[in-house]
């Protein structure tokens, strides 16, 4: 059995049919599917171990706490964090970015300061900064993108200055596929005294991510895009920054002491984890990370590069089709495209009829679409379980859509 066949046999959902056709799932950039190892880890937790964490002294609570903290350690190792205390559980990358914007931003930003983000950001790395700039009086600025759909580096060098307090950017665009040089961008931010906040929602599932080597100040990512469940995400932060930040949400578990006159905060990472957390989801994410580690992130990246290059070539066989963003050698495993005048919703509906699942719309990144003057795109994205045969079915269904709507 080939590695790819073995992987596919681990994903029960890939056995199902859609409109009488085998499912070709080409929408992992929106959310990946889950291997049975993740499902089983969560199921076993609920069947045998579940109780609230950090509370009871009974056996189940002790075991649940141990499993929950073991999961944190496993995830910390996956991104090479120096300590699990720097790995904060959130709901998703969106909440992680909001945590930084509100907690760090409120404490540190003032009028005259600048927050720099890029035109290729997902809305979750735009809107929190818009909100915090409104609250603090700081100014929000955008690094433009080039016609090729990559960051405009000369413009970036102009925009970064001594007033820049934060440079927040995606490590991989969820529309253009462009992979940004994270370490280089972090170094540029540090050179002007800014902190670097990295949206890793697309990069962490697909590329080896070493937070110490990259020297990022904060890294946000979601569990559900990397084989894990929904409802769990991670914020990694540098220790000194996290220690100095006020809490984000208040409630149980995040306090050391509560008096009617005021409260003192718990230590890291619990200061940022108010209320009963997503325990089973944390355990599920650790199982996902384990799965990726066993494959090896080098295998993951290589598989995606290869299938993306194949899909790039095949898509360009279709007359009138234009892919947004850089060539296959400088992008991750996703391809957003426009096809003549065909509306992405119509394309996606025809593809769905052939069992091929893709995303259609603005993918929560309207500024990119505004930049290219198009309301929406169709996006096919790939992960560890996708095959050349699925790409071939995508191409065949696109020809069918073209025949149906072009006249």
């Amino acid at each position: 059995m080939s590695t790819l066949d073995r992987i596919r046999s681990d994903f029960p959902i890939l056995q199902r049919q859609v409109h009488g056709e085998p499912l070709a799932y080409l929408d992992s950039t929106a959310s990946s599917q889950k291997p049975r190892q993740v499902l089983e880890a969560m199921d076993a937790y609920y069947r045998h171990t579940h109780a609230n964490v950090h509370r009871g002294v009974h056996t189940l609570s002790e075991e649940a706490t141990a499993a929950y903290e073991q999961a944190r350690l496993r995830i910390a190792r996956f991104i090479n964090a120096a300590s699990p205390k720097q790995v904060i559980y959130t709901r998703n990358a969106t909440e992680s970015l909001n945590l930084v914007a509100y907690s760090w931003g409120r404490a540190n930003l003032k009028p005259g300061d600048e927050v720099l983000i890029t035109e290729m950001e997902h809305h979750s790395n735009i809107v929190p900064w818009q909100l915090i700039c409104q609250i603090t009086g700081a100014t929000l600025r955008f690094v433009p993108i080039t016609a090729q759909g990559e960051l405009d580096f000369p413009a970036l060098d102009q925009l970064l200055n001594e007033r820049t307090r934060v440079f927040a950017f995606t490590a991989m665009s969820n529309v253009l596929g462009a992979i940004n040089p994270t370490a280089e961008l972090v170094a540029k931010a540090h050179a002007v005294g800014a902190i670097a906040v990295v949206d890793g929602a697309q990069s962490v599932p697909h590329l080896h991510s070493d937070v110490q080597a990259l020297d990022v100040d904060f890294l946000a990512f979601s569990g559900h895009k990397m084989l894990g469940p929904t409802g769990i995400g991670i914020l990694y932060g540098k220790r000194a920054l996290l220690e100095a930040m006020p809490p984000f949400l208040g409630g149980g578990d995040m306090i050391r002491e509560v008096k009617m006159t005021g409260s003192r905060w718990n230590e890291l990472p619990y200061k940022f984890e108010a209320g009963t957390p997503a325990i089973a989801e944390a355990i599920g994410l650790a199982a996902a990370v384990e799965y990726l580690d066993q494959l090896g992130m080098d295998w993951v990246a290589q598989h995606e590069r290869e299938i993306t290059a194949y899909a790039w070539n095949r898509l360009h066989e279709i007359e009138g089709l234009r892919v947004l963003g850089p060539g296959p050698e400088r992008r991750g495993g996703l391809l957003s495209f426009v096809l003549g005048d065909l509306h992405p919703h119509d394309i996606a509906a025809v593809l769905d009829g052939a069992g091929v699942a893709v995303r259609a719309g603005h993918h929560c990144a309207q500024p990119i679409h505004d930049h290219f003057g198009i309301p929406a795109t169709t996006r096919a994205s790939f992960y560890i379980y996708n095959t050349h045969a699925e790409v071939d079915r995508l191409i065949a269904a696109l020809h069918k859509a073209k025949a149906l709507f072009e006249f």
């Binding site: 509306h343 992405p344 919703h345 119509d346 509906a349 025809v350 009829g353 603005h362 309301p375 149906l404």
Partner: protein, 126 residues
């Protein structure tokens, strides 16, 4: 899928009826579906209390544009009160195809636009 794009839907999409603009519309309303960027403008001319001429303009997916074309045909001769009473079921029956929750907004955009005009809702500034 073949259900969704039945021949009558494709026919209205390819050859839209009443597409364009009226010289002197009594009612003019424009709306968009921000989710997918579909746009519809509906124009109506009245003779007495009945609709004597209709035009629509817009761009978007086949469902939204076919729905606008079919609706334009259907409302000729109706009174404004009859237009105000039109509902989701009317559109679904008119289209005659199964529509899921996500595409429902596409299917209903023309009616939403028309009814906003019929009720005299102030247009959202650009």
């Amino acid at each position: 899928m073949d259900d969704l794009y039945r021949e009558n839907i494709l026919d209205h999409y390819r050859y839209p009826r009443h597409k364009g603009h009226l010289d002197a519309p009594d009612i003019h309303y424009h709306d968009v579906n921000p989710f997918c960027g579909d746009e519809i403008t509906m124009e109506v001319q009245l003779e007495g209390d009945r609709i004597s001429a209709v035009a629509f303009d817009g761009k978007g997916c086949a469902i939204s544009q076919a729905s606008a074309s079919m609706l334009s045909e259907a409302i000729l001769g109706m009174t404004l009160d009859e237009v105000k009473a039109l509902d989701k079921e009317f559109i679904l029956e008119m289209l005659g195809i199964p529509i899921g929750p996500v595409r429902l907004k596409c299917a209903l955009l023309a009616l939403k636009t028309l009814k906003a005009g019929a009720w005299g809702v102030e247009e959202w500034p650009e």
